[in-house]
């Protein structure tokens, strides 16, 4: 299994898609931070009002909002599409691994897709933190109360919040890739999911007029609401209206487990479908 993961990593670490959709995070953040520091060094403008320690720490962990945002998830889905569906385009699936160990290949793809993204995001996060620290020193000093423990706690929590959306995006992109055997089709379906999530209240209100009970049930069962709910909880509120007198308000843990179940289901379906696929 470890060999399968190593092979997958060797395959993808220098692929153009990995540069554009994964390594882009630390590279872009590094360039932005260098730009900001250079601007700060040569600018004659006032640095602005001082930040509190809590604000400074929250700002330094801003990067973890990217994977939960629409554009961030498009990038994740795009990378997962290349990882899972690329082999169909290169015509390499059937040649490299016996049918009995196909599950290893899917598992290795999961490991590499998730691993590369986590590595890139952690690297980008550390670069951002370093840039923020250097910027504060450039302006004078760090706000009082910024401690390593406080920074670590906030960054850890922000990273943990981002993990489920990343897993969810990879799970469905992987499933779409195996079903459609196409990078483009996988991307289109993955984008559709993000768009549906964004429009969920509107869609729900529209269908509520025709079939209120069914709409309520679908909202509670399908993963879209739970993704939105987790995002809303992370921001402090969790109420999504979907009818004139109807709202869905579930706990963070309910949505967490519902989404976990969907991720496991999508991952299992991907494995089962690939194991049974006739690659000729």
């Amino acid at each position: 299994m470890l060999d399968a993961v190593r092979a997958e990593a060797l395959k993808l670490r220098r692929h153009r898609a990995t540069w554009l959709m994964v390594w882009i995070y630390p590279i872009a953040i590094a360039l932005i931070m260098i730009g900001v520091l250079l601007y700060g060094a040569f600018s004659t403008h006032d640095a602005g009002p001082p930040q509190s320690a809590a604000e400074w720490i929250q700002d330094s962990a801003m990067l973890w909002k990217i994977p939960t945002s629409g554009p961030g998830r498009f990038l994740i889905a795009g990378f997962a599409a290349v990882v899972f569906a690329g082999e169909y385009g290169w015509n390499t699936w059937k040649l490299i691994i016996p049918a009995r160990t196909r599950w290893q290949l899917i598992a290795a793809k999961w490991a590499v897709a998730l691993g590369f993204l986590i590595i890139a995001l952690i690297a980008a996060d550390l670069i951002m933190l370093l840039g923020g620290w250097l910027g504060s020193l450039q302006d004078g000093q760090l706000p009082a109360g910024v401690t390593l423990a406080a920074v670590a706690e906030v960054h850890w929590k922000a990273g943990a919040h981002a993990l489920l959306p990343i897993l969810y995006t990879i799970a469905f992109a992987g499933l779409f890739a195996i079903l459609t055997q196409s990078i483009l089709a996988t991307m289109i379906l993955s984008i559709a999911i993000v768009v549906i999530e964004g429009m969920l209240p509107l869609i729900a209100i529209f269908f509520h007029g025709y079939a209120p009970a069914l709409t309520a049930w679908l909202v509670k069962v399908l993963p879209f609401y739970h993704m939105a709910n987790l995002g809303a909880w992370a921001k402090g509120g969790a109420v999504i209206p979907f009818g004139p007198n109807d709202i869905v308000s579930m706990s963070w843990t309910t949505s967490f487990w519902a989404l976990t179940a969907w991720i496991v289901a999508a991952g299992t379906a991907t494995q089962l479908r690939f194991l049974r696929q006739d690659l000729n």
Binding site: L10, T92, K94, L279, N280
Partner: protein, 307 residues
């Protein structure tokens, strides 16, 4: 490599192997009841026109796809046996590789996927004459280079059985000769070589035994010598051909073969045939054994099946 199986065990054995793609009315029978065996130290040719089921058979023999019926055995063990499979090197579908990786990195990926360390990568690159181009991305390789990389991939783990699907595709004359020497060398080392090809002239030169498949069915399995030996037949070149044919028809079975006659007769009858032709007023240009090539036999067999 371990050779722990009992002596005489074939390196590859297919038993009533069958494969149907799809289900129900839409199902397509790609391979039907194919049985054959490949021994150590021989080069075995697997011949068939396009769509005959050669690649599907090879994929089942490698465990890449599951057969619908029958079984494939490697060194006497099921194809699912990991140890047996590790003793097999293969080139399927012309060796498709990751175009964005170099030749060397492709072999590294393959070595990792197969669970070995790839210590022989440089050696096999040298053997197929690709060491100088190993750093280049595969997307810049010619068809022949990709083919050679495919062979390198097949030899990566010093296999006891080498399965090659159309290994001479895209190779120039010199490349084909190199390939011929390489395959004969492998057989001389005691390895079993199973190759599919439509280059019948090459197969005739390289292989010890062949199997001919058509529309998924095995038409014949035989040694090259037996296949080419049609017993007693003579090829007669004479003019006018109609006069010659009429003169011989009474005594021997005669078939027209393009601008000559094929006469079912032993070599000892050659003087009598010449006398008969001269008496009939035909000019005789040549009377000799009928050396039918593998290509002619192959075409006859597959045509007969079509009919």
């Amino acid at each position: 490599m371990s050779t722990s199986e009992p002596s005489g065990t074939p390196a590859l054995e297919l038993r009533a192997l069958g494969k149907t793609y799809g289900r129900g009315a839409k199902g397509k029978r790609a391979v039907d009841d194919v049985s054959l065996s490949v021994r150590h130290g021989e080069v075995y040719g697997f011949l068939g026109p396009n769509g005959a089921g050669k690649s599907t058979t090879i994929r089942m023999a490698l465990g890449l796809i599951r057969p619908t019926d029958g079984e494939a055995l490697l060194f006497g063990r099921p194809v699912s046996d990991k140890q047996a499979l590790r003793r097999v090197g293969s080139l399927v579908d012309g060796g498709t590789f990751y175009p964005f990786l170099s030749g060397r990195d492709n072999l590294r990926v393959l070595a990792r996927t197969q669970g070995h360390d790839g210590t022989r990568i440089e050696q096999v690159l040298e053997r197929v004459d690709l060491a100088a181009d190993a750093k280049r991305k595969v997307k810049g390789y010619s068809t022949g280079m990709k083919q050679r990389l495919g062979v390198a991939a097949a030899l990566l783990d010093d296999p006891d059985l080498v399965i090659l699907d159309e290994p001479a595709n895209g190779l120039d004359a010199a490349g084909i000769q190199d390939m011929r020497n390489l395959l004969r060398g492998l057989a001389a080392d005691g390895k079993a070589v199973f190759l599919s090809s439509h280059l019948l002239h090459e197969v005739q030169q390289i292989c010890d035994r062949v199997a001919i498949v058509h529309k998924g069915k095995l038409l014949r399995e035989s040694s090259i010598r037996d296949l080419l030996d049609h017993g007693q037949a003579l090829r007669v070149e004479a003019e006018p051909l109609d006069t010659a044919e009429t003169a011989l028809q009474g005594k021997w079975p005669v078939d027209r073969a393009q601008d000559s006659l094929r006469v079912q007769a032993p070599r000892a009858d050659a003087p009598a045939i010449v006398r008969q032709l001269v008496e009939a007023g035909a000019d005789v240009f040549r009377v000799g054994p009928d050396d039918q090539s593998l290509e002619e036999i192959f075409l006859t067999m597959t045509r007969d099946t079509d009919a």
